[in-house]
Symmetry: C2
Subunit: 241 residues, 2 copies
DNA sequence: CGAGGGTTTGACTTGAGTCAATTCTGGTGG
DNA sequence: CCACCAGAATTGACTCAAGTCAAACCCTCG
């Protein structure tokens, strides 16, 4: 029954060209999306023109939850590549949650997982140096992509520019370039031609003190009778690894 | 009826001495708290001994939601002062949510508001310089304290040390001291003897580009029939301003 | 009144930013 | 198929914000 509802949520599938905001700060019409293909980033603009990328989302991610819950979106969401996504409208979502309370639990859990990721990002920017931050980010993206079958331990395809990396890591684009060169010279990772290639995966993990624990908290605490797939997979309909 | 449930949540009231963790990373017993008096901070430790304070909580704040939803707490929570708080146990919370679905909506909304605050913090650390970050933090704390009647536009009592400020802002304690001196010399704020005193409130707002918008998103989208108080106030039982 | 946090300051170092010039690349239209 | 262009990546030289180290100082509370 919940599955049926989820199918409905997936009904309105749309395409978005790169660089044209799907959601912008202050927007009133509220809708969320489930990413089917392509990458997007959520960011905030500061007076002064600089911006801070809060997170990147990849296929399978649910995005814009906060813009649905609040009256107005409090951040922007922009496709990095051409993107295919299922629109989820407020009313549908509300209805679904009312009909299937466990879906609400899954949402709450998903929101918390989101927050955990933002917290990890915060910690990185606050207390790690540029090189570690970069290594950490590349590993995190790899781990997340692997969950949906888009990466291996060797590496993955990555459409991010050095400007985007800079805005995510709180660095300047120039410094991003220097840091990437250092990592390459250390034989840890190579990021060229839109490809991330790990030269020494274990070395990366050790160097960046990467602990993927925060990515895979177990599913929602209100367990499904019969122990189905994790809530996030139910939500997004993507297969596991 | 919901009110009755909330009363139950407030039943187990406890005291905690300063500096002794209420929740620590990896902890299995899961419980959350509603802060009645005193200040606490939630933080993460990094290998290497440094730490990053994610947020401070003040009376009326609900804390530890993520530590309840996940199997293990993913961060630490430490009282800064002696603290009085009502313990909320997982089972009670679950029961309450099951009995009153709207409470679940309120929780979801509260979690999102939390995330919005962390995002704002992230943006600050990523893209604002030390002086602006400090000004912004002092204003934010002021705004939040005013909501529960603990601050005026003139200032407030603040138990934070310069070390705590440093760990929150991603700075060194020494630099925090210098930045506070500069702000004082500019006539914007004074922070001495555990008192924050605004010298030029409007100047502060202008200088730090403070926009309190993110603090007061309107209540949960599933509105209470009859339009009662906002969910957060319902949750915490504290009066509005 | 002494001790131990917490605060202040100065002197020096360093990670990261800025500016500016080149080179590389992928995509486009002729 | 190729010349061309815009955006992206690279690199060097210089600057500056913030960190580190170290030494006082100063509350406050037992």
């Amino acid at each position: 029954m919940e599955l049926q509802l989820l199918d409905q949520l997936h009904s309105r599938r749309r395409f978005f060209p790169a660089r044209q905001d799907m959601i912008y700060e202050g927007q009133i019409e509220r809708s969320a999306y489930i990413l089917a293909s392509g990458w997007v980033c959520s960011y905030k603009l500061l007076p002064g023109g600089t911006r801070q990328v809060v997170d990147f989302q990849i296929p399978g991610d649910f995005l814009g939850l906060r813009s649905v819950l609040f009256r107005k979106a409090d951040h922007n969401i922009e496709p990095i590549t051409r993107v295919q996504a299922s629109e989820v409208q407020v009313c549908d979502l509300l209805e679904a949650v009312n009909t299937a309370p466990r879906l609400g639990a899954a949402l709450l859990w998903a929101a918390s997982r989101d927050e955990a990721m933002v917290v990890e990002h915060l910690v990185g920017i606050g207390r790690r140096d540029a090189k570690q931050r970069m290594a950490h980010l590349l590993l995190e993206l790899g781990a997340r992509l692997k969950l949906v079958g888009l990466a291996s331990n060797d590496g993955y395809t990555c459409p991010l520019t050095q400007y985007l990396l800079a805005d995510a890591l709180g660095l300047s684009a120039v410094h991003v370039n220097r840091v990437l060169r250092e990592l390459r010279e250390d034989g840890l990772v190579t990021f060229q031609q839109s490809k991330v290639t790990f030269g020494d995966f274990d070395g990366m993990v050790a160097f960046s003190k990467f602990d993927r624990h925060y990515l895979d908290h177990d599913g929602p605490l209100m367990t499904w009778p019969g122990g189905g797939p994790s809530s996030i997979q139910m939500l997004t309909g993507l297969p596991g690894p």
